[in-house]
Amino acid sequence: MSSQPTPATLPRPAFAPSVSRTLATAARVLRQLRHDPRSIALMLLVPCVMLFLLRFVFDGSPGTFDSIGASLLGIFPLITMFLVTSIATLRERTSGTLERLLAMPLGKADLIAGYALAFGLVAVIQSLLATGLALWGLGLDIVGSPWLLLLVALLDALLGTALGLFISAFAASEFQAVQFMPAVIFPQLLLCGLFAPRDTMQPVLEAISDVLPMSYAVDAMSEVLRHPDVTGDFVRDVLVVAVCALVVLALGAATLRRRTA
């Protein structure tokens, strides 16, 4: 072990909010991911394989593939990012690194924004691959712009990150965190209009589906599917998803406690 004296020239750390802490956190999350190529492959390829399967499941009715395929382009990023974030933040909580970070000059917003940024980037790549494959490889027919599909997919990914962060506070183990996936995602999946139009559901269920964010994600996707321009409904749907994501992110931030029992 060395015995260098203190380099007197080294600056002492001080606490000031900084964008570079957010960027450093995002870079760290991506570095962790890079040491895990299998997870990257699963995140990027599984949605593509599912779309591929779906295309040939509905071989006889391309119209059905169009509507379900477009909806799934919005749902995949939500599910993937939910899983990835809930496990990643849970590991951060259980490994003690969260306690260490919060005892250091790191703002909660720096940490959350870092995660959102890193996983957002992964979501963009995932969505580019899935959307590209669906539109140009599998002949998914949409009337609107593919960029709008991508925008919705990105917001869905953000929503998934937010939900995962929030839920990780209630899971005591990775085992539990995975069990939260069906509990949080499946009801939304059933009620979002993917299996039956929402206005044909039993009125109580329709009312519930009106307050679940995934419903708006799927609605936004079908707006792009059917209309060449940005419609008022599309703007509303996108805003609902974005606001939901921000609210849940704030709730998630509230679950990060500097002082714990």
Partner: protein, 255 residues
Amino acid sequence: MMNFSGVAVLARGLTVVRGDRTVLRGLDFSVLSGRITGLLGPSGCGKSTLMRAVVGTQAKVGGTLEILGRPAGATELRPRIGYVTQAPSVYDDLTVRQNLEYFAAVLLPGRRNRDARREYVTRAIEDVDLASHADSLAGRLSGGQRSRVSLAVALLGTPEVLVLDEPTVGLDPVLRRDLWDLFHRLAGERGATILVSSHVMDEAERCHRLLLMREGEILAEDAPDDLRVRTRSETVEQAFLRLVDEADALQESRR
């Protein structure tokens, strides 16, 4: 910086409640600047809770607790305290260097600090003698190596106060000696105040001062030599046992 007469940590009536249990019961103690203070006591006596209170991560802390003249947990204290938890808290899926680079970026963000960060990281890796493993994944290291990575993180930024929760547990005798040499260098050369816990009494001999704890209370606060003389004991362990017996006898006679 080296202020031997100064008090780095001051506690008056420090009380911590966890659930419905009072873990620390009205503690009074002080930790002197630039010295190594050993926090000793059996497992479960409240050592970790006391350290978490000092670092500012413990909830429900009552009484007075000041670190460097500021109330524990104050924002401006965060860059000035280095904290090592009992279980190594590092990212297993990053290399040693990547772990340190990230935590250094949290402490000293920004492009203009890049050179300082690199220097801090290199020095921390050398401090804990892990230069040969700098590019290994933390998850692939042995338990002792991982806890040294965790210690290296706490050394970044030359904190004025180091709070170390059982840093030598599970290490072989050579490494334990090397780490204690390092603690003495940190206190002697960098002027760091060190609060280090252990349940191994023979490590007490290497501290400047001791806080002996039992069941949420401080039994004694003294230098190891004074403690032995006062209790007419050969070792700190004996002194501790004698103090425990005295405390028990006192409790009995009060009934």
